[in-house]
Amino acid sequence: MRRWMGFVMALLVAGVTPALAQQKSTLDKIGETGTLTIGTRTGSPPFGYVNAKNEWVGFSIDLVDELIKPALEKKLGKPIKVEKKESTPPTRIPLLSSGAVDLVAETMTDTRTRRDSVDFTLTYFVTGAQFLVKKGSPIKGIKNIDGKRIASQQGSTNARIIRERAPKAILREFPDQPAAFQALAQGQVDAYTNDGIQLAGLKAKSPNPAQWDIVGDFYSYEPYGMALRKGDADFRNVVNAGLMEGIESGKFFEIYEKWFGPKGELPYPMSPQVRSFMLLQVVPK
């Protein structure tokens, strides 16, 4: 038996190690294949979702298409195309590490723990966690969820904070947002917690938005960044340069307006603090 297990472990290690060791730089890979593969969401409006016309769109996807893609094309001197794959909180880091995707552009919070495994671009959106409840629910924020059943998305930062700050709450973690929302709609859980902006998107897209309330102060700080494979500074510089040029030229704010402006998918005006934070992230040429 022991001999046998040793053999299995050897197989596993032999299978995994070379695959990781042989990775070449992402820029070379994109140059060769002419394709930038991104991981993004299918059910997180308005960052990445499939709309009523069955098109895969969103704010994060637009940033890649309109800011990062041109920057990469300029750097590589040839046209590239963007290919989308679905990623979710539990799968996005493995997808990136294994090389299945080159860039995760969805709703990923930049954290110090995650920076041990992946690198992040500039912050392109700022939000915080709240709760979505049925109208009239006694839940008003993180202070009164003890003993309540709270749905969250598995692999998100929210679940972790709930576990630390409200250990008496009963956490129910779902792999994706539609399942968690369904559980809330049917009463399997009392509230669903996620980043405020995502709850607003979910509420707006639900069949009966007036039925839902978003409650509580932000109980966390969630700066969104795009994730890249760790230690590939050349690729990250090009991606960041694309974002910086977009912020500098105002194109970034146009895209923001398209999704979050008064006529956008989800009106969510950018506060003056966030605007100046975005501008301050841009370093000189």
């Binding site: 995994v16 730089s25 749905a151 779902f174 049917q186 590939d232």
Partner: protein, 240 residues
Amino acid sequence: MRYQFNWSVLWTGESGLWLLSGLITTLELSIVAWLLAAALGVVSGALRTVRFWPLRVAATFYVEFFRNVPLLVWMFFWYFAIPPLLPQLVQDWLFAHGLEFWAAVCALGVYSGARFSEVLRSGIQSIPRTQLEASVASGLTTFQAYRYVILPVALRLIIPPGTNESLNLLKNSSVALTISVAELTFQTRQIETYTAKAIEALTAGTVIYLILCVSIATIMSWVERRTAIPGLIVGGRQRR
């Protein structure tokens, strides 16, 4: 650029505890679902071979209906579609008392039962028809003939494919994480959330499943040898 392994994430912090609680949940879920599946499988497998056709049709319907829909769909079915059909009071009670676990037991048990059923049917049908006829001729009722003659032989015959299905059940229990049951795969993802070390966490899960399944397979092959019927099942390996 190279991925940096950090295996210590598996034993620092709460990781070990999470893996243990995930393992326990996986075992609880699998054992309860297995009991349900075995009961359903034996009854419906036997019914599929009886003369009386309405029972045969009912058992065939059960098998074809439940084994031909993906397990994931059954998970959502028992978790999301069944509770709204129940009275409000029952619903509230269920929601407050671990509905996820029982929905997963039903989904896994009923689905695997349909697969066990086919295994048992093939076992029964491999026994010459004359055995049943001889039992009935000796004065046993059909029920008694199945209970005392056919099933004891059939159940021994199907140990290898039955073990196969049981291992499938154990591994399929990981689908329960889609309805928020905190089993082993769920906990490996949990470690990944806290440490952002996916490959280490997945490897831990893989090794635990592997050890579990290999142990069960080893025990069952011992059971198989012990219960072999001389002359009828010789087995791939002769006892010295």
